[in-house]
């Protein structure tokens, strides 16, 4: 038999290559150059270049790494371009808010930047992978650097603890995930998503069990109940910049793969997984929001809040089994979540005067007087997380709830509304502390140029999405309808 090499178009994976190559380059550079600023700027440049290349691919549908007679391993379509943009923006955001923080906490090491670039590549691959095996590779590529990053503050026990917990549990859930792939392969004899779709019939028990296990893997990554328990611990222990990166990047990437795998490969069983996801979403909303009420540590509170937001996003995914518009609302919500969460973490970082200090709710007392700008920004972010109009958080929730109703998941929509009413209490508590107390804190607020730039972008993004979501939704919707495969599933 004659061997024919697969069709490879490297241009399609150029954003991946840029970030990964930059990571490798930094690895080598590390031997010669120890100046920190170089790494920061190089990383920023690499991500910006990847973003440009990524956006340039908008409006096309490509496939690459196509073995003869088979499906492409990697695809690039509007869906992946949209998600990759979110991910790359989250990378830029993380860099901006980390500039001063890493410096003053003595965490600034070249490894931070390399690991971030590698993880970012993995995240992007999640949304582009068209094959279960590649999804798994991407999952590992995104996770392993994050494990290390969580433990970057080696001097602190809680950081090491969080890294260890994250690693052990991550490995555990990855194992379950691989088992799910194996079962799907057993049921269909295929791992390429379209191939699975073509072969799979509803009700195959092997595929059912496989789907359940895949769901566990994804649910772990996005921090959905009952696979969420690592989230608050890890979020609290990891350095705050890593937490910010994790809470946006890892979550968005998890949802990217979840959406593609479930809507492209498994629509035959959409009834079953819709129900399961809806149940998980309901649990996630309730537990995430209610437990967040009692938190006094901002990072932990944001950890539970990110669980809760995974719940809102899951509503959209559950609804995606019925109509593809829901995918658009999930994308929009992610965009709003990106800006808002990055901004909120930016403020947290500005107040964290020493590693792991200044992150209690108490520390926000009287912030309105010490730094009115920062507290006004935090006010907007908290309102957006609550979902108060006219902020991005409201627009996102509005579209999500609407698609839930369209998909006849009205009970879920009602739970979501009730829990978002509840969520007001803990988000607005931050506002309460900022505006209604006199503070006795004298520690400086670290708001350097980079952080200010990041906060400004986040603020503008949050409000922009709040006032003019229509255009963005159209874009997000194009990201879905431009993707025939997603529609085929819908």
């Amino acid at each position: 038999m004659d061997f024919q090499p697969p069709i490879i178009n490297l241009l399609i994976v150029a954003p991946l290559l840029i970030t990964m190559g930059a990571g490798l380059f930094l690895m080598l550079l590390n031997i010669f150059c120890k100046r920190d600023g170089v790494y920061y700027w190089l990383t920023l440049a690499a991500i910006a270049a990847a973003l440009v290349q990524n956006v340039a691919m908008w409006g096309h549908e490509y496939g690459t790494f196509i073995a003869r007679g088979s499906y492409p391993m990697v695809v690039s379509d509007n869906f992946s371009v949209f998600l990759n943009s979110i991910l790359l923006l989250s990378g830029i955001g993380t860099l901006l808010i980390s500039r001063n923080y890493l410096h003053r906490t003595k965490l600034e090491r070249p490894e931070f930047y390399m690991l971030m670039l590698f993880s970012l590549s993995g995240m992007m691959m999640m949304g582009m992978a068209n094959d279960l095996i590649l999804v798994f590779v991407a999952l590992e590529l995104l996770s392993i650097p994050l494990y290390i990053m969580a433990g970057l503050a080696v001097s602190r026990d809680d950081s090491k603890e969080s890294a260890m917990k994250y690693f052990l549990l991550g490995a555990f859930s990855s194992g379950i995930f691989v088992y799910g792939i194996a079962l799907i392969y057993g049921a269909t004899g295929a791992t390429a998503l379209p191939a699975v779709y073509a072969v799979l019939e509803a009700g195959s028990p092997l595929a059912m069990a496989g789907t359940a296990f895949l769901m566990v893997g994804f649910a772990f990554k996005i921090g959905a109940v009952p696979f969420h328990m690592w989230t608050p611990d890890v979020y609290e222990g990891a350095p705050t910049v890593v937490t910010a990166f994790m809470s946006v990047g890892a979550k968005v990437a998890g949802f990217a793969a979840l959406l593609r795998v479930f809507t492209v490969a498994l629509p035959a069983m959409s009834d079953a997984w819709m129900g399961a996801l809806a149940l998980i979403a309901a649990l996630t909303l309730i537990i995430g929001n209610v437990v967040a009420l009692m938190q006094t540590n901002i990072k932990r509170m944001l950890g539970y809040s990110s669980i809760a937001h995974a719940g809102y996003l899951l509503i959209g995914v559950a609804a995606a089994g019925q109509h593809s518009e829901a995918v658009g609302s999930v994308l929009l919500y992610m965009l709003a979540y990106l800006f808002t969460t990055m901004g909120a973490f930016g403020v947290v970082i500005a107040l964290e005067h020493k590693l792991g200090e200044g992150i209690m709710l108490e520390d926000y007392k009287g912030l309105a007087k010490r730094n009115p700008w920062l507290s006004a920004a935090m006010l907007v972010f908290m309102l957006s997380l609550t979902g108060v109009p006219p902020t991005g958080g409201f627009s996102g929730k509005f579209y999500i709830f609407r698609s839930a109703v369209e998909a006849n998941l009205w009970w879920l929509a009602i739970i979501a509304i009730m829990t978002s009413v509840v969520s007001g209490y803990y988000y607005l508590r931050v506002v309460f502390y900022m505006y209604m107390f006199d503070g006795d804190r004298t520690e400086p607020v670290y708001a350097g140029t980079a952080l200010k730039t990041g906060l400004l972008i986040a603020l503008v993004g949050t409000l922009w999405l709040g006032f003019f979501p229509a255009g963005w939704f159209e874009l997000a919707y194009k990201a879905v309808i431009g993707t025939t495969q997603l529609l085929a599933g819908g």
Partner: protein
């Protein structure tokens, strides 16, 4: 439909039996003449001293990791070498890239000073 689930149930039941049977057969069939040396953890003639719960130097792990990485590299190299005639230039490019990436990692480890035994 439930037929298929039954297959899974049977699988679940039988899967542990196979390793279990092997260990059990071993236990049944083997003659049992224990002595002190046979009960040693490592039955290799070297006497084990002290507890195994001691702190190892972390460099052991780094060495081990680097070794495993290059071990796996070799695993990939062999089949490519064997089928080189069939695969052609494509394979060469692929494997060179692969090796280069690993070399970069080695260079990093080296430059980082992790290979110096301290």
């Amino acid at each position: 439909m439930l037929d298929n689930w039954q297959f899974i149930a049977i699988f679940v039941l039988f899967a542990p039996l196979i390793p279990g049977a092997a260990i059990g057969a071993n236990w049944l069939l083997s003659p049992k003449k224990p002595n002190r040396i046979k009960q040693e953890t490592y039955e290799c003639g070297v006497e084990a001293v002290g507890s195994s719960w001691i702190q190892f130097k972390v460099q052991y792990y780094i060495y081990a990791l680097v070794f495993v990485v290059f071990d796996i590299e070799a695993v990939f190299l062999f089949p490519i070498a064997a089928a080189y005639g069939l695969l052609g230039a494509f394979a060469v490019v692929e494997i060179v890239l692969f090796v280069l990436i690993l070399v970069a990692a080695l260079a990093y480890t080296w430059g980082d000073g992790s290979l110096e035994w301290v």
